[in-house]
Every structure is written in C-alpha cells, then in structure tokens.
Point group: C2
Chain length 235, copies 2
C-alpha cells in the first residue's frame, strides 16, 4: 500500500499541535494583567467549542468563505461574556486571536514529518488559513511541501472539495493520497472521496485522557504518533 | 525600508531557475532516441515563446483558469511540427512536459533564499502551478513558507489579483510585500498593486548575454543575484 501512496495530508489542530494547552496558557497570560483570572483549559474548550458551528453557514453555502482567523475572532467575542470578561482593548483581542498561529506541536510531529518527507509529498489539509499554517510551521519546524486545505479550496472540511482540491494540487488521484487525522469524521469524509486514511491517536487532545476515537469503519493505518506513522509507512 | 517589508515574493522562471538550459537539455535527450537531433536552445525558445500568448484567453476572461502544465502541453503540441517532429508516443510527451518541474536553479538561488527566510516570509508568486513549484523546490532545495501564485489566485500574472491574493494569504498590506523578478513587466504590475519591487539581473536567461532589462520606472532594489538581494535587505 505504501508504494502506491505519493502524498500525505495532515489534519493539524489536535493531530499535529496541542491547541488546548497552548490556548489555555496564552489566554491566562493575556487576561491576567487585565485583572481576569480564568481557567485556561475551560476557556480553550469554550473557544474551540464554537469552532464547528461557526463553519456551518459556509459549508452549507449561506455565507461566502472567510479565513478561519475571522471565525476564531467572532468566536472569541462570543465566549468572552461567559467568562465575565469585557472592555478588553482591541489590540489585545487581535493578539490573543493570533494565539492560534503560535500553537505548540506534539513532540513527535516534526521528527515524524521530516522522516515522511523523504518518501512522500506532505501538506497540511486543515481548516486553518495559510498564514496560520505558516506560523505553526515556522514555530515548530514543520517542513511542508505546500500549504493546502480550506483556504485553497474555498470551503471547510469535511466538505469533499477540500480533500479533492488537495489531491488536484499535487496532480494525484485520491487513491494515491492519504489523510492523517486524530478525528474520525475527518477520515470518514476523506475516505468517501477515495483517499487512504491514517488515524493518529491523541489521547490528551481535550485534556488528560480525553481524546477522539477512531472511526467505526476500518482505517488503512492506526498510529500512536507521526513517528509511528512514518515507521508503519516504511519512511 | 527593509524594516517594513515582511514578505518577499519571487518570480520563478528565469528569475530563480534557468529554464532555457534545462529545457534544451531535456528536449534533446528525450527526442534523440526517437531519431530527432534538435537544437535544444531553439526548441526551448520556441516552447517558451508560446508561454505569454497561451495565457491571454485566461487573463482576458475568455477561458476559465487551467494549470500552466496544461498550457505547457498545448504549447508543446503546437511547436513540435515546426521541428519536423511527429508520432511521439503519448507517455514521452507527458514526461517531456514535466521537464518544467525539473528545472535547475541558478547557483545563488537556494543560498539566497535560505538567508532571506531568516528575516522574511518567502513564497513563489509564479504562473507555474503548485505541483510544478513543489517539484522545483524539492530539486533545488528552495525553502518556501508557502506556494502562492497563479493557481491560488485562479488567474495569471500580470493580473493584479495574483499579487494581491499573495499579500492577502499572508495577511499583509501590499506595502509590506516585495516582488522580486528578472522581468520589468512583472515588477511594473506588482508596483501598480502597491508592492515594493526588486529587479534581479539574469543576463543569460535567454541564452548567453540575452537577459531582460529593468523597468523604466525606479525599483526599490536592484540586485545581481538572490544572495545580493539578501545582502541589500540586511538578511
């Protein structure tokens, strides 16, 4: 199977980077000087909780595409009152919103991608925008061949166009591409487009011991890290 | 000025890679076993000569966007009869068309980009498609942050949308972006969109001693190589 695969596409939030710990830390550090002592984990969960619903209007064609940075900001404004936070200066909110560009990768991510790049084309196929992906790549040393995903496709996963436009960008049929993610729905959607699938377990994505489960249908590879994926694909 | 610049965008064919020598070599090597002895330089010039006219219908909205690979193939089919070439097997033509993915960079390109990446975001803003850019990057060690350009914009340079979509992908106003190219018309178009400009002299692009001239209007930087550009921008 690995002989037929030419490209690996990666989900990013949760699969390659630990959004929860990073957002919790930045939110606490940003809001403390303003007199707010928050539970950073709860804040990160609330912010991320708005993520899926915020894309619905775009996926369903009721709103034209905008970058995830714009949705993140809208979602931030929505959750602040729940934490009793008000009157935060605009520049502080703008900076906090860019905390999503500064997430830390899981420890195995960069070494695994470096190995995989020896054998496969590699690209993020994330809902994050290009500049966000570039920020994460620079911070964590992720050696992408290209930045693909939602902004290239003009739509959000799990819409088929996002997976198919990534395959098309590399001139490859879906059967020669593999989607790797820590989330079942992402892999189910990719498989429906004809891509191969790899589930990477991230047992602590939503806090200690709170990770996603593999999809009900079989995946091509089940890995416990990006380095494990590299080993299983012979890279 | 360099303090305000955040991103550098590069033209690729001619500016970073020596398309003429590479295409001449591949065309000769591909056609010789079929019994055709051609002047590779003349063949490369003829193929490249169809490049600008082939994009006109797309730039002017009479044809929907397609990748440069498709135009390159159409242009190849157009020039073959001029060299008395016929009945070439389809797989040979398909492979020769991908010679554009295997061009060699000028010697200063990779070392210059490596230096510039320490200080600036860097991306190709070329008419070449994403897979073509990835091929050149892998072959020549070009450390792009992202692949921007025509395929992202859905149009061809010098249409304003190509420059403006690159700035937008990096969340930057045009004044914080600089276009670097060996061709006056590329820089004139970028300047009209508000970008800074750098002219890189490539005196041998079209054969020994046959390179492009700087634009009539002033450029922000005049450099003799990518390494020279890095030096002049303090990188």
């Amino acid at each position: 199977m690995a002989d037929e695969i030419r490209a690996l596409f990666f989900d990013v939030f949760g699969t390659l980077v630990d959004w929860r710990t990073s957002i919790a830390r930045e939110a606490e550090a940003t809001l403390r000087p303003l007199g707010y002592t928050i539970d950073g984990g709860a804040f990160a969960d609330a912010w991320r909780g708005e993520y899926q619903p915020s894309m619905a209007d775009i996926r369903e064609g009721r709103e034209s595409f905008c970058k995830l940075d714009v949705l993140h900001r809208r979602n931030l404004d929505r959750i602040l009152p729940r934490f009793g936070i008000a009157n935060v200066p605009e520049e502080v909110l703008a900076s906090l919103n860019l905390a999503w560009h500064r997430l830390d990768a899981w420890r195995d991510t960069a070494p695994g991608l470096i190995r995989l790049k020896q054998k496969f084309l590699i690209a993020p196929v994330s809902n994050g925008n290009i500049s966000l992906m570039v920020g994460l790549a620079r911070r964590n040393g992720l050696p992408w061949d290209a930045i693909l995903g939602a902004e290239i496709a003009g739509d959000y996963k799990p819409q088929p166009q996002v997976y198919l436009s990534a395959c098309a960008a590399f001139d490859l049929p879906p059967a020669q591409c593999m989607m790797a993610a820590a989330h079942a729905n992402d892999l189910t959607a990719a498989a429906a487009c004809g891509l191969r699938t790899a589930f990477i377990t991230r047992p602590d994505e939503h806090g200690p011991g709170r990770g996603g489960k593999p999809p009900a249908e079989p995946v091509d590879v089940l890995a416990i890290s990006v380095e494990d994926l590299a080993a299983k694909l012979g890279a």
